[in-house]
Amino acid sequence: MTDQEQFRQETRDWLEKNCPASMREPMSENEIVWGGRNAQFPNPDSKIWLERMSARGWTAPVWPTEYGGGGLSKDQNMILQSELKRINARPALFSFGLWMLGPALLEFASEEQKLKFLPQIVRGEIRWCQGYSEPGAGSDLAGLQTRAVPDGDDYVINGQKVWTSYADQADWIFCLVRTDTSVKHEGISFILFDMETEGVETRPIKLISGSSPFCETFFRDVRVPQSHLVGKLNAGWTIAKRLLQHERTSISNFGAVTGSEPVPLEFVARNYVGTNDDGKLADASLRERIVTHRMEDLGFQLTLKRVALEATQGSGPSAASSLFKSYGAKINQDRCELTVEAMGAQGLGWSGDSFSEDEIAATRQWLRSKGNSIEGGTSEINTNVVAKQVLGLRDHQ
């Protein structure tokens, strides 16, 4: 037996023994485990599952063991992921720390910072949020104005962030702050601090879908030790960019991560629209648009696979990941649009017993999906990135 085969066997055995049966069922959004000081475990098994996985470092399989990670090679990780998929195991932990901050810390943080923060992330003890966008700095993120002014051993931070995901539920924030006002990109630093620090205030933003996953976050004279600065002073933009790549990749994979495949559109359509004698959907226009969408979706999935395969030779997220994000957004938006269209009047309900749970969910998801092409870099910005970085087209002078 090769080493790989042996690893696969051991992994399979371990999972068989340690992954609770209820963790092998599809999960709904409110069963997601985000960890943190006030971690919620609606299902007690999910706590056990997180503890077992993080004890092996398998919430962060390729991170080094000295920081609590699993220390696996790429090949081993592929085996682990395929074995997890084989039993339909739920992700043990959803975490911006794992997906975004961690990789950046591994690359840019001091040894001390790594030892302090990474193991907490692996174990899901601290829930992180991201302090990037500001009211005047969205697509032009580098235009941010939140100031950090040195004062003794601290920085004193003043300003406002917006679109801070789950800031009202997060324990710590990784935050971009301006430490030099005389330059743009070169005046930004990357800093970490506790959301319980005095002067931090969050206000949830109500979205058109009715939910409030984002906050406005205000900083008034927030004191943060200078030791919480990651990387060099005024060199935060490099970290920010790298982190954004990770964010884009994770957003475009988000649907896949939850493991809950949406009901195929054609089933919904057949249900609500019916079929002709020849078995074709009764609405020819809808049918044409569904098949077009399905082809786009399948083509996109195949491409994700192909690029992932190609990346096994390469390193890190490729420039094409920007393209994926906008394609993924478009495809999800189309799916949502077509779903509500197929449902007709039943897909336009806001609340009440006259609509099924699925119908209400379809309405809300349709509205929520409109944000897919905005959050984590608008599709326009992503398109610009591809034009420049991949196609080599230049900026207009």
Binding site: G143, I205, K206, D283, V340, M343, A345, H396
Partner: protein, 379 residues
């Protein structure tokens, strides 16, 4: 040839715009929504609108109306569309009074039309029975019983159903399935025994209801038009409704376009207004062009009603599909071009997005009307 407004219509537009921006801005709609106003519209404001003559805008003078025709009505609907102002204009005036004018007996007309023109009587059309528009898919039955009928069945998507005084109901008096023949229309008092009305909570917060009829007794005089030939009236009424909705959607789309264009000029990123970015410019021009086209189509469709033209049904499908698509495009672009702020409940973009979907669906989606237009054109 009525593709541009005459002086009278221009005056009506100016006064409607003043009234709406003064009394019925988007904040008025938000108030109704956030206070969960059970009526779904502002009754006092409706009284004022009726005093301005809007409730009687298409009703002949002999019944107390202003007789401005659909071109006049269109002007008003565009303005209320701009601010999403909810009112019974479509349910009561377009559908209800049209049904009475087209099919009503002299007695029905003189009973209801003056009250409608005064804003004192509200009507609703109970014609749909499923999630998708299907005017001939009528399973509700009206069974002859002595001099009258007994009505049984379920209706849905009834605009303003739960606030209406009278319901105009399509029911099968013969035929089956989706036969066009055999459908009859009835005027049914909303407070009749056996009528159950449930208000729905829709994504655009406009009034829609499910209505159940359980052995509702109707008199001979409650029949509207000719027995079994109700589809003739129903089609004409729905076409008027489609054109009216197109006018309302046009106003809404125009409004989104205007405030989005403003935002493109105001919002700075990378040291410039985002409206200097050519990709956004080209998309803005696309919206502008679609609106120019929609403007012409809606004008032509309203005119077709007033002139009683044979191509009115085709124009109705044309207008409904074209403006439905345009509002769809523009309301989506409205959110996208505003970025994050456009996704917030606090911003108006989302309200138009929601209204677009519902309006596009009501009385037949764009796809439904493209299909019908092709059929009417013989292919």
């Amino acid at each position: 040839m009525a593709m541009i407004l005459n002086e009278e219509q221009n005056m009506l537009r100016d006064s409607a715009r003043d009234f709406v921006s003064d009394k019925g801005p988007v904040s008025a709609f938000r108030k109704i929504r956030d206070e969960e106003n059970a009526d779904g519209f502002d009754k006092a404001l409706w009284t004022e609108m009726a005093e301005l003559g809007w409730a009687g805008v298409i009703i002949p003078e002999e019944f107390g109306g202003a007789d401005f025709g659909f071109q006049g009505l269109g002007v008003v609907l565009e303005e209320t569309g701009r601010t999403l102002l909810p009112s019974p204009l479509v349910s009561t005036i377009v559908l209800g009074s049209s049904a009475l004018m087209l099919g009503g007996s002299d007695e029905q007309k003189s009973t209801f039309l003056p009250a409608i023109a005064e804003g004192k009587c509200l009507l609703a059309l109970a014609a749909e029975e499923g999630a998708h528009h299907a005017p001939y898919g009528v399973e509700t039955t009206a069974t002859a019983d002595g001099d009258g009928w007994v009505l049984n069945g379920n209706k849905c998507q009834v605009l303003d159903g739960h606030v209406a005084n009278q319901l105009i109901v399509s029911a099968r008096t013969s035929g089956k399935g989706t036969d066009r023949d055999g459908i009859s229309l009835f005027v049914v008092a909303a407070d009749s025994d056996g009528v159950e009305i449930e208000a729905l909570s829709m994504v655009d917060n406009r009034n829609a209801s499910n209505v159940k009829f359980g052995n509702v007794r109707l008199d001979a005089g409650d029949l509207l038009g000719t027995q079994d030939k109700g589809a003739d009236i129903l089609d004409a009424v729905l076409d008027r409704g489609r054109i009216a909705l197109a006018a309302e959607m046009l106003g809404a789309a125009q409004q989104v376009f205007e405030f989005t264009l403003e935002y493109l000029k105001e919002r700075h990123q990378f040291g410039q207004p985002i409206g200097t970015f050519q990709a956004l410019q080209h998309r803005a021009v696309k919206m502008f062009g679609e609106l120019e086209i929609c403007n012409s189509v809606v004008m032509e469709a309203l005119t077709a009603v007033d002139e009683g033209r044979d191509d009115m049904p085709a124009m109705a499908s044309f207008a409904k599909a074209k403006v439905g698509d345009a509002m769809h495009l523009i309301s989506s672009e409205g959110v996208q071009m505003h970025g994050g702020i456009g996704m917030t409940d606090e911003h108006d973009s989302g309200l138009y997005l929601k209204r677009a979907r519902v309006a596009e669906h009501t009385f037949g989606s764009s796809a439904w009307h493209r299909d019908r237009f092709a059929t009417l054109s013989g292919y």
